[in-house]
């Protein structure tokens, strides 16, 4: 599609994470967007409805009365053959919950921007990954972004990936930290994005074909439906790489299931997702200048989970997994998966719940204690006992 060496046409725009998601949505120009804004994802819909009001998109913007309705409207539109997007956070995602497995079960390629915010109670508007993590087993692909730049890139990637494998996608960014921080974001011109995402041509739709969507499948066929979803997830892993590499030809970014930062020769490695990865990189640069071999594995793709690749990348290292969410009564979500991949020398760090700050000094301390074998198996950072 794109020739190697073709000049990239990007310009820099000052955007927040929310602004980057909305800008990508403007360029994708979905057929239908259903909206019920919630903090901290509100600006996505503010920006998008401005683009809509100014005639820069020709999407149908449906204003609904709840998140449950927003996702239900998305289901109807997607089943009718439309390209559909929306956005939400926290309790908003919670209120969509009943419809989420319907979307994946019906194999509708809906793309949702989720601005991570902790779940109530107690009521809190700040970032942790409790909302998206509680939706991790519902058949949605999950991609986490480090900064506004990755938010933009992931949106373009997700449209192609979702439609290719017929699975819905959640795109995560950290509430406030990423969603409200203005940085310079490289963006493509509208025509290039239009060419990259192409037109959505679903195989079958409610409007054009004589089909039933949302059928009953009891003991005879339910399991078979589920097996098809499992196969689609496996397929998504392969397609993710292909589409990500194609996208890299038009906008350079860190490609792959995860980013390895000074990881190859590292003795101790942190595994983390989203904005905290930036602080970890800064600390790594500092510790490396003092001769300490530390590195980072920043995971992008959480569902489907790249077990084999991670096991290979972390082989022989002391691994510190940092979770910004918990699974009450069990190991933390990211830690569990890394452990499942077969990594043995491993520690679990829980941090930042409800937006609790994590400082560069905290990360430095974690690395230094890990190198001295003084890190406990499970530790909570920055919390009063």
């Amino acid at each position: 599609m794109y020739k190697d060496g073709e000049e990239m046409k990007t310009i820099i725009k000052a955007l927040t994470g929310n602004g980057a998601a909305a800008y990508a949505m403007k360029q994708i120009n979905p057929d239908v967007v259903a909206a019920y804004p919630i903090t901290p994802s509100t600006q996505i819909m503010e920006d998008f409805s401005m683009y809509h009001a100014n005639g820069l998109v020709d999407s149908d913007l449906i204003r609904v009365e709840s998140e449950h309705s927003a996702m239900s409207a998305c289901v109807g539109a997607s089943a009718a053959g439309a390209r559909v997007m929306t956005a939400t956070s926290s309790q908003g995602l919670g209120y969509m919950f009943e419809v989420l497995p319907v979307v994946s079960g019906l194999r509708l390629p809906i793309v949702v921007n989720i601005v991570n915010r902790s779940l109530s109670a107690p009521l809190n508007i700040h970032c942790d990954h409790g909302d998206s993590m509680s939706a991790r087993d519902l058949g949605w692909i999950q991609i986490y972004a480090e900064d506004a730049q990755e938010v933009y890139i992931n949106n373009l990637l997700a449209i192609r990936l979702a439609e290719k494998v017929k699975l819905p996608i959640m795109l995560m960014q950290d509430g406030f930290i990423t969603s409200h921080c203005v940085i310079g974001v490289d963006v493509l011109d509208d025509a290039t994005v239009k060419k990259f995402v192409g037109n959505y041509n679903p195989e079958k739709t409610l409007l054009k074909d004589d089909i039933t969507i949302g059928t009953l499948a009891l003991t005879d066929y339910y399991f078979e439906f589920r097996l098809q979803q499992i196969k689609a997830m496996n397929e998504a892993k392969k397609e993710f790489i292909k589409i990500d590499n194609e996208l890299n030809k038009i906008i350079k970014h860190s490609t792959g299931y995860f980013e390895e930062y000074k990881l190859k020769d590292a003795k101790a490695a942190i595994v983390v997702m989203s904005s905290t990865a930036g602080a970890v990189k800064e600390v790594i640069n500092d510790l490396r200048s003092k001769g300490k071999k530390v590195g980072l594995l920043k995971l992008r793709l959480f569902r489907p989970f790249p077990y084999e690749e991670i096991k290979k990348a972390l082989k022989g290292k002391k691994v510190i997994v940092m979770d910004r969410s918990i699974s009450l009564g069990a190991n933390c979500p990211l830690y569990s998966e890394i452990k499942n991949s077969g990594v043995s020398n491993i520690h679990s760090i829980i941090f930042g719940l409800g937006g609790k700050n994590i400082y560069d000094e905290d990360i430095k301390d974690i690395f230094e204690r890990a190198l001295k074998n003084k890190l406990k198996e499970i530790e909570y950072i920055g919390v009063r006992e």
Partner: protein
Amino acid sequence: MLFEIRIHSRGGSGGKTTGQAIAETALSEKKWVQAYSEYGPERAGAPVQTYVKISDKKILSYSGIKHAEIVIVLDDSLIDEKVVYNVPSTCIMIVNTNKDVKPVLKKLGFNGYIFTVDATKIALDMIGKNLPSLAIIGAMIKASYGKIIKMNAFKDRIKKILEEKPDMIIPNIKAVERTYNEVKKL
């Protein structure tokens, strides 16, 4: 070189705009930037701190700022321990006020450079509204000798920021020129 700026304002008074305008100008000068506000429950009038980081290389960490080389106070009723928190002795503090704030800042232990300008009056004179959020940046450019951002780049940026309110461009640029000329070092 990483420059860190902290802006103290009240919810709805434009501190976020100040931060974003500085960041966008620095971005147009090919610098790497971050600009964000500290959020709590959204209330008009509540104290809000906005942070801007400007650097020659990519800023990786999203952790809070460590040393505010420049502090901008958009509302002088906000002067307390928070405005002098974590500032180096070379800190440049720019206060929107018509009062002599030196004694109170000294009492709080501030040893840096104090600059004052009545940006509210200037905004009322030039724009006709109490919107000093862009105007105050003129004083910052003067006080920092244009080392953070340049006046011309900032004026160009104002045209972009106010693209959809074209009649506000000239009054804002004039207000910026006035704070640049009228800012006083105490």
